[in-house]
Amino acid sequence: MFIIDAPIEEIIELENQIMLCKLFAPEIAKSVKPGQFVNIKVSETIAPLLRRPFSVCDVEGSFIYIMFNVLGEGTKLLAHKFKGETINVLGPLGRGFNFDGNFETAVIAAGGLGAAPFAFLVKQLSKDKKILCFVGGRTSRDVIDYGMKDVIPSTDDGSLGFKGNVVELMNDNLDLLENKRLKIFACGPTPMLRALKEFSLKNNFECEVSTECAMACGFGICQGCPIPSSEDADKNYLVCKDGPVFNVKDIIL
């Protein structure tokens, strides 16, 4: 874990308020794994007070990328930063995806801004795995497939690709998935992950999901981000430290 003042190299709008921020953060770029996150202080004042967690979207040399949607006070401030300004970055944090396993095809399932961690993962997986990406959004403008390949899209309103959500899309394409040694890597809204858990258990697919929860510190001291264990009713995991990536079997969504 490092705490560094990272200069902003570039912030671009991918589309529709979805921003990509490139940061010079050599220590973090060197040690981060796909699925891990950073906790960023977007201002030097107390507004906002706490850091904001962001998935590391991609790594390029000494640079890391984060993707964000301009929604609240923090992301608005971040979106208006200029090249050369620094922001304080704490990371890398949490446990990322485990992609060393014995599988041939990596299936990416991303809903909306859930696309954030996958450019980096796809880059790593491309070395020796086949890749298939299912990407969903509310409308065609919300389908974010940055850094992905072999993308099959879905939209809630049918404006692009299959009409329905990502899990319905995967069910519709079950023939592409059956009889393959595959592993699913997913990130998206909790209802999507919940449906995906059911889908992967039913079809006996290995599946890891990246979860999210409101948190303060990002490294385990505030105890603010519990997620219940499916094995032990008395146990919570922490999203920040035990996750954010979990085997979908281990947690209650």
């Binding site: 107390i46 007070l49 409101a214 001291i221 505030c222 105890q223 603010g224 519990p226 008395d234 919570n236």
Partner: protein, 305 residues
Amino acid sequence: MSKVDLSVKIGTLKLKNPVLLASGTVGYGNEISEFIDLNKLGGIVTKSISLNPRKGNPPQRILETSGGMLNAIGLANVGLEEFIKSKIPFLKGYKVPIICNIAAGSIDEYVECARTLDSEEAISAFEINVSCPNVKEGGLQFGNDVNAVGTITGKVKAVTSKPVIVKLSPNGSNIIDFAKVVKQEGGDAVSAINTLVGTSFDIFTRRPKLKNITGGLSGPAIKPVALAKILEISRNVDIPIIGIGGIMSWKDVIEFMIAGSSAIQIGTLNFIDPTASIKIISELKDYCIKYGIDKLSSLTASYLL
């Protein structure tokens, strides 16, 4: 350059500087030890321990508010047995004073925890949490009952030779009465303040944003309240005060000491910058040198009203 003395005393407890890390903001020390040298601190107050493990409240537990945050963790902790087995051995590796915070659902549970932990050499003192706003039984229920706080203080003192600090709630009517009863029953110090009860609603769903409905407000938003409560205690009760409430800088530490604190605790700031406490200690030293203050402890209750 003159040598400055940052050390402070809280009853019989001697600390090399007044900066403690507050309970619930440092776990049991291991995570934050990746960022700082714990031995440089005045002390660490460990996450509340109860007799049995507590799972805590369901999420959402954390919410940022203007200049502060609400938390409703619900005293999630590993329980006394696991604390002794797996957390104390780690803390033994450090020379820093460890103040063990105890939370309980009954008077007997406080006593039982203190009795069991009394033989642990790694623990320098106890902080009794009678003021957690986020659990149904115990916590605030005692924090608002002067007689219960008196009984708990007396009974815990009877089973331990270690200093006993009672953490007071700002939510009751008169904090002076509570500080007085702690003093009467032999308590060594009070820490003030615990969090203020607060809540927040989603205006579209009309539901509370925290699953627990209410939470405890901390951070710079509560600093003026903390200072006023500390001043009230300081002017009316002769007992050492450990000040807590939204400290963000060395200047805040000085202000808390002037208002009556012998030592202070850093809480919410640890979440934002886990290295802040060490920077603050070094800045306190710079301040003393610059303004010719030989003993930092001379600032305690140095207000001119």
